[in-house]
Amino acid sequence: MLSVQNLHVSYGAIAALKGISFNVPAGTVVTLIGANGAGKTTTLRTISGLVKASSGNVMFQDTDITNRPSHEIVKRGLCQSPEGRMIFPGLTVRENLMMGAYLRNDRKGIEQDMEYGFSIFPRLKERMKQAGGTLSGGEQQMLAIARALMSKPKLLLLDEPSLGIAPLLVKLIFEKITEINRDLGMTILLVEQNAHMALNVASYAYVLETGEITLEGPAKDLASNEEVQKAYLGM
């Protein structure tokens, strides 16, 4: 579904991505793990069109979407829950979700998808009229994921959903990621520093180190790989 080919991105003189390639097949959960500053967020921002690639391609469903405007990429069915959640603080939970559905006009479908969001994260329903900025970190993360789902994407990009939230909620959120993949057949590209959790829910994984992919394989294999265990699983 998504194929990234030899992608190079730099911020001024700093090369953040030095020619990375990877694939996300339809219906799967693929994870990209790596330490601080490896270039994970840069990868997702480039796919979503927020950062321009200097060379290489992003192919989505056999269409070249490299450096297309963000809103056009969303229209094609690729939506992101960004790092740091980026909830609209002054909009209510409901308005945040409606912004996720910005490109849609099928009122009934929108309501249905909102109900689905509430069914996986009931907390959001209770907070529907509350301003996004007043939610806790974990609740904001739920909202960010539910909001991204509101666009009815074919591919969901998740940037560090575990960042800065309580361990118990991390566990819940990863369960929900599996659930979304299973219930909706949603293809998911998950970016994580929390390799342990990510390798648990993904079927295939890539390891990103300072802008280069150094290792890849089925998630189970990587979880038992000695190097990965030492560097990312704290064993």
Partner: protein, 302 residues
């Protein structure tokens, strides 16, 4: 007492106009985080659009309110389109540049409008007399307090536009998108919102309110010239800062406060201090509460 009430009425009617202009400053600041210093001159162009539209519309629509409304709409649409054009040609190419660059460009646009406006082939540098849109009748309320039909029109139009704006911003999809863009532009892009379209829409709304304000100003003070936008523009800017720049309710409040303060000063102290008081307020607010009366958080540099 009645003199005081009279000053309040006069102040609020002037303030309503400042509020309309201030709304444009604050909305544009909300999405782009910069002060559109050409806004006062867009206001000036609005007065000329009204001036030139009147003789075309009056034969068609007669002497009544129909013509007044049509003149108002012409100025609103004309200014809206002018605002959109300015953003498209001058500000958009500089979107990723430092704010100072955009600010200086805005000052450039402002001077451009003021000085090309003075060319004889454009508006000319002389004062022109704005046509009388509605017959002036004065109504005596109580205890000698009176209100003119022009003032009534100012209140009715300004309040109706403020209410309409509120509905657009709070209840419609594009209005919610505007608020989303002002809170987090990148996140808004990631939702599929076309940022450029929302920014154009914001410029249209803000500039059209300035156009409406211009017609209301011109029927209240019928001498118009190409530099007429400078002072009301600056005062409305102060109003927006007083209310809390970026805050829509704040701009409205600020407009009414500045208008009242100005009229009171002119009435009770001396007319020659009417401008000074406004800038005095600006200095005070910048010292005491830079985020404005309704603004939140720390000060942000423009």
């Amino acid at each position: 007492m009645s003199e005081f009430l009279q000053q309040v009425i006069n102040g609020l009617s002037l303030g309503a106009i400042y509020a309309l202009i201030a709304l444009g400053y604050t909305m544009i600041y909300g999405v782009l985080r910069f002060i559109n210093f050409a806004h006062g001159d867009v206001f000036m162009v609005g007065a000329y659009i009204g001036f030139y539209a009147f003789p075309k519309l009056q034969p068609l629509l007669g002497d009544g309110y129909g013509t007044a409304v049509a003149v108002l709409l012409a100025a609103m649409i004309g200014c809206g389109l002018l605002g959109v054009t300015i953003e498209r040609l001058a500000y958009r190419p500089l979107r990723s540049r430092p704010k100072l660059t955009v600010l200086i460009t805005a000052i450039g646009i402002s001077l451009f409008l003021e000085y090309t406006g003075q060319l004889p082939v454009v508006f000319g540098a002389d004062y022109k007399t704005f046509p009388t849109l509605i017959p002036e009748t004065t109504y005596t309320l109580f205890g000698g307090v009176s209100i003119g039909s022009t003032q009534i029109l100012v209140f009715v139009v300004a309040l109706a536009l403020m209410a309409a704006l509120r509905v657009v911003v709070l209840r419609t999809k594009i209005g919610t998108a505007m608020r989303a863009v002002s809170m987090n532009m990148n996140a808004a892009s990631l939702m599929g919102i076309n940022i450029n379209r929302v920014i154009s829409f914001t410029f249209f709304l803000g500039s059209s309110l300035a156009g409406a304000g211009a017609v209301l100003y011109a029927i209240s003070y019928p001498k118009i010239n190409p530099l007429m936008g400078i002072l009301p523009g600056l005062k409305a800017f102060v109003a927006a800062v007083l209310g809390g720049i970026g805050n829509i309710a704040g701009a409205t409040l600020g407009g009414f406060l500045i208008g009242t303060a100005e009229t009171m000063t002119a009435g009770y102290i001396s007319p020659s201090y009417r401008d000074a008081i406004v800038f005095g307020i600006l200095i005070l607010i910048l010292i005491l509460k830079p985020s404005g009366l309704l603004g939140k958080g720390g000060a942000e540099k423009v």
